[in-house]
Symmetry: C2
Amino acid sequence: MPEITRRADRLPGTRYGNRPTMKDVAARAGVGLKTVSRVVNGEPGVTPDTERRVQEAIEALGFRRNDSARVLRKGRTASIGLVLEDLADPFYGPLSRAVEEVARAHGALLINGSSAEDPEREQELALALCARRVDGLVVIPAGDDHRYLEPEIRAGVATVFVDRPAGRIDADVVLSDNFGGARDGVAHLIGHGHRRIGFIGDMPRIHTAAERLRGYRAAMEDAGIPVDDRWMSLGTTSPERVRRAAEEMLSAPEPVTAIFTGNNRVTVTVIRVLAEQSRQVALVGFDDIELAELLQPGVTVVAQDSAALGRTAAERLFRQLDGTLVAPERIELPTRLITRGSGELPPAD
Amino acid sequence: MPEITRRADRLPGTRYGNRPTMKDVAARAGVGLKTVSRVVNGEPGVTPDTERRVQEAIEALGFRRNDSARVLRKGRTASIGLVLEDLADPFYGPLSRAVEEVARAHGALLINGSSAEDPEREQELALALCARRVDGLVVIPAGDDHRYLEPEIRAGVATVFVDRPAGRIDADVVLSDNFGGARDGVAHLIGHGHRRIGFIGDMPRIHTAAERLRGYRAAMEDAGIPVDDRWMSLGTTSPERVRRAAEEMLSAPEPVTAIFTGNNRVTVTVIRVLAEQSRQVALVGFDDIELAELLQPGVTVVAQDSAALGRTAAERLFRQLDGTLVAPERIELPTRLITRGSGELPPAD
């Protein structure tokens, strides 16, 4: 299990209206205001030792540049940015809307963009949003190295990662229990008599795909079932790739009798493939899909609460901006197995 | 039918690298450079007569402030903004992604936000994106008065409206043939023997909802079928409201034998209601829905090409920025009837 830390995260006396100023930081660090400004804005001309003293003062006081006073002074609308992975993936719809609703409740606009699963584009977009003076960023990361955000975070941009963890920086992260959810879903298939179970997932470099594969392996191991390499297929979620993977597993000499699909894009294609098969094949999918209950059989899924992921991340972001958080946390939300028929089919042989 | 204008829209000699400058505008209008700058930036101190002369010169020359040179000068990443209606509506997924792909092909970032169907929020968001120096805006309008964008358009922000028309300004608009699509869908039901046909749509102040209702009425009139007021229900697309509307039509003394649903959010709820009915009720939905072909019966729809709407709008936006367009157009894309079973059921009585 990933380590989950939860700490008392309110620092008394750091709420709106009573927040530390640059002057407080300067006084505590024993330096001038201009020096604090240089450190906060990542400008040159500060010795490493002085920078360390200023950073310590900033951390001790919980100072953030990005206060509402600054927003009001500049006459800007407060705004936060959301870096998505794919604008057309329905999983992100409720997540985005939840982030937007929290933003609106805080009087802030939400502006989004998509990385299209490209780490360079994620960076370009995140920095472009910062350059456009967002007060905070919610990031669904495509890459695994987020040190490029350190100067922005130092400059007071609140940052929360959601759906997948941050890489190489210490940051707030809100995830689903991808490992546990997949393990439960596969154990459910095993409980209905399956032993030859396929796993079709997204590219292994994607955290969620890797975690769900780990869950599949754990469930199989718990049941003492050796896994055949041909039962596991990771790659893009394009319909062509997924269809080929499913058809190969189903036409092998000893075909799989059940498939666990690693996300909603994979599930939709596998449902189409299974509808063409002459024998029944069990299916459990990660992520819920619309109208799953009206298909025949209904589709059993491990559902994430996509809206709760977005809401939790956004609320955490505004608490960072409020100055009421003291340390980054990793928050994991539970998944839920919803049985509708496809995951309860017995093995065909 | 809405009027559709298509004009020769390339002006020779106005492509990148050979574009009119403010100096050209000043020379043609017979005014100083500062005066042109004032008009372009919406600043005071210009008499109405002078402003008119400058505007005429701007139009004659096809001048736009927002050229790539300016972008490069400021060292910014080029970007365009997209104002959506609802982040969680799957109809907008392919549209957003298509806009993003065109933006990327032009080396520009896309940043989005959602109006949540609130005209004030649409305005706030559009202006916030302009303040963040987007080069152009694709807007799915929630409101019906877009004069607030006139200063931005004058200042060179390219602007295209998509899915719904602009209000009270002359602007590029890319729409689906909502009227024709709905008329065809309802005529299809009439062709299968239905006379008591219900229409459940979105709020009538929304252009697409009003056009689709008009298409319903036209098809009924063409067939000489008088429409009972109780067969038409317009309002929010919340599942509760839609369910109530469908159940009322189905439990009336002379119940409808078919329903035409005005968009994908309505269709999904009506599919659920119909699945609970003891008798078969025909259904044609506006907008395609995922897995519609695997439901029983398959769902017959009038499909819009959501990606083509986004692509067409974005390409038009970049041609505005290129200076290769001379006058706003209204472009209408065709819809497509996809028969899958639900729309071909005969009347139950």
